[in-house]
Every structure is written in C-alpha cells, then in structure tokens.
Symmetry: C2
Subunit: 198 residues, 2 copies
C-alpha cells in the first residue's frame, strides 16, 4: 500500500536493526485519514470471505480495526492485555510473550463476543515474531470460530512470525512488508517499493 509505505519512509524512525518506531501515525499519535484508508484496504482484501467480526488487541490495533469494521459492516472486538493471570468465568485467554519487552502477558476476550458461528478477521499493527497473532488465533479457535485471515499494517519480513503463520495455512495480508532495517534504512520487500530511507 503506497500511501502507507510513503508514510513509513517519511516518518518512521529506525531505532535498531529490528525496531521501527512509527509513533507519529500509528502507535501514539494516530493519523485518522491513513487509518481510514487502511481500513478500506483490509476490507477490500478480505471482501467476500463472509467475515462476521474483526478481532484485534489493545491499544494500537484498535484504530485500523474500527475503520475495517465500519467498511465491512461488522463489530470489532479488542482483546485485553493483563500482566497477571486472573481467572474469570467466560473469558477466552491466551499467553503472549513479548520479546521486545521481555514479558509475558495474558490476553483475553469474553466468550460473549466470539462464538462458533463467527468468521473472524484478525487485525494487528505489527507482525514480527507472531506471538500476538498466534494468541489471537488461539482465542478464535478456542471459541470454535473460523479464522478468515490476518490483516497486518506493518510486517517485519525479516522476523519469522509471518513464515510461521503462513506455514500453518493462515492467509496473511500485510500492507507493508519490511525486508530490512539495517544501517538505519527501511527497505521494503521485493515487489514492493524498495527504496530505503534514513
């Protein structure tokens, strides 16, 4: 998605060979116009899949998801993160390890909002090692619902989350796939716009 790749080139800050900061339009400040276009793009890529619900995870997944949900005409559910394991009835839960933060969070969704009749589009802001996406898939499958696919705003193609999930047979649509952040430059995957930025 050119609009998104241009924005990453203009405003993304490469903090290391593995960390890209996009706080100016996605993770802290949000560009509502871009999010609206991203929502429309997800809706287009997952049209005619019978989607009944969008599932994401707080907080940065919410903005792209609500625009996708609006466009698809379906509700959005966001999984909550919590550090400690609190057993509450009627919650679907999964553990998600964050390599960046070095901690494991429990994520949870009420079983009122995902059930066996649902066809779920999972959306998240980043895909790196795939832990969050795998946790969301786990929750959908615990509910005996169907995963229609996974929509990702920015995939780090040089980490193995995308590979793992595609090998398991899940359809992933990433709007920008980064092949490298080396030497402070953002490079996109071949077939995409490949120029770097500093």
């Amino acid at each position: 998605m050119e609009l998104l790749k241009n924005k990453i080139e203009q405003e993304g800050i490469v903090l290391s060979n593995t960390v890209l900061k996009v706080d100016s339009f996605l993770n802290h400040q949000i560009d509502p116009n871009l999010m609206s276009e991203i929502g429309k793009e997800f809706a287009k890529r997952f049209a005619n899949k019978g989607i009944t619900k969008v599932l994401t995870i707080e907080s940065s997944g919410i903005a792209p998801s609500v625009f996708a949900g609006l466009e698809l005409g379906v509700p959005v559910v966001f999984a909550r993160k919590r550090k400690s394991l609190t057993l509450i009835n009627d919650l679907l839960t999964s553990s998600v390890h964050s390599f960046t933060k070095g901690e494991t969070n429990e994520i949870s969704v009420s079983n009122k909002y995902i059930n066996e009749n649902d066809v779920v589009l999972i959306i998240d802001d980043f895909l790196a090692n795939g832990q969050a996406a795998l946790g969301l898939v786990d929750i959908v499958e615990q509910a005996n619902a169907k995963v229609a696919g996974i929509g990702i705003v920015i995939e780090k193609g040089f980490q193995d989350g995308g590979k793992q999930l595609r090998e398991k047979g899940y359809v992933i649509e990433s709007l920008a796939i980064i092949s490298s952040l080396e030497n402070g430059k953002v490079s996109f995957e071949a077939g995409n716009k490949g120029e770097g930025v500093n």
Copy 2:
C-alpha cells in the same frame, strides 16, 4: 444523542448503583457505525473552535476519538497508562487514580505530539469522578496548549467529575448523561430521554 441513549437502554448492563457495563459496543466489543456517528457528533459540537488535535487515553477512548479526528481533519494522540513510574525524557505525565480499580496509574504523552500551538479536544468514553479527564487536562496544560473542550461519550451525572470540571471553566459535551443507575435502571438526565431500562 438518541442513537447512543437507545443503545445504552438496549445493551447496557447495570452492575450496581454506580457501575454501568457497555462491553457490547464501547469497552470490549465496538460498534463502528455508532462510533462513526459519535465522532461526527463531537466534530459538530466542537466545530469552529480551531481544534488542532484530539487527545484521549487508551484503550476505550481510541475508537470514538479516531472518528472525531477524521471528521475534524486533525491527528489523534492517545495517552498511555502504566502502573509504575518510569522517568523518560520528553514525556508529559500525570497521575490518575481509579476509584473503581483502587489503583493509581501514571498516564503519559510525548511532548512531540502536544505543544503550545495546539488547541486540544479531549475525548473519553466515561466521565465519573473526573480523574482521567483531569489528568488529560493537566497534560495539555503542561504542554502550554489550550483545552478547547472535553467530549464524553457517557457521563455519570450523579458522580462529581462533570461538576468539578465545569466549575473550573471547561466546556464539556457529554453525549449521554446518566442521572441514576438505582434499582438496576438507567435514567438519563432531565432534558434528555428519561425512560429507564430493565
């Protein structure tokens, strides 16, 4: 806002005399159509105020805010909550006590995204004792920016946050003001649709 009040009557769950659960369309599952209408309503109520930015707080403030930001044509910034106080350069921070959860969180916003030229619309999902809104006001004022007003989806009129903030001179626009949750019934403030539910 009739659409919102009808939704509260149909789907809100009164858990006690002070707690209303609206997990089906705002706090866990999100109704994107309703959020889009809410965003438009905030934009209408705060039109011609020279707003340059919407400020909210993760996670439930994000959905109504991004639609308001889209309509107003301005970026949205969401404050992050964290339990422990970590001093990081360039962060505007404030303490917010939650009476419901019995804990104090620090909320923070990068000073890159709010500055003295900004005219800020603060948006939040609920207004009860006003602690979150006061924390957001504090952050805007630390940045020497101007508070244009405060947009609230659901105000609990029987708690004193709204009174406190109005006495300080802030303009508050609440789309639904609840006067009472007694006897398991939602009552709206006079002048609004006053019928209970249950």
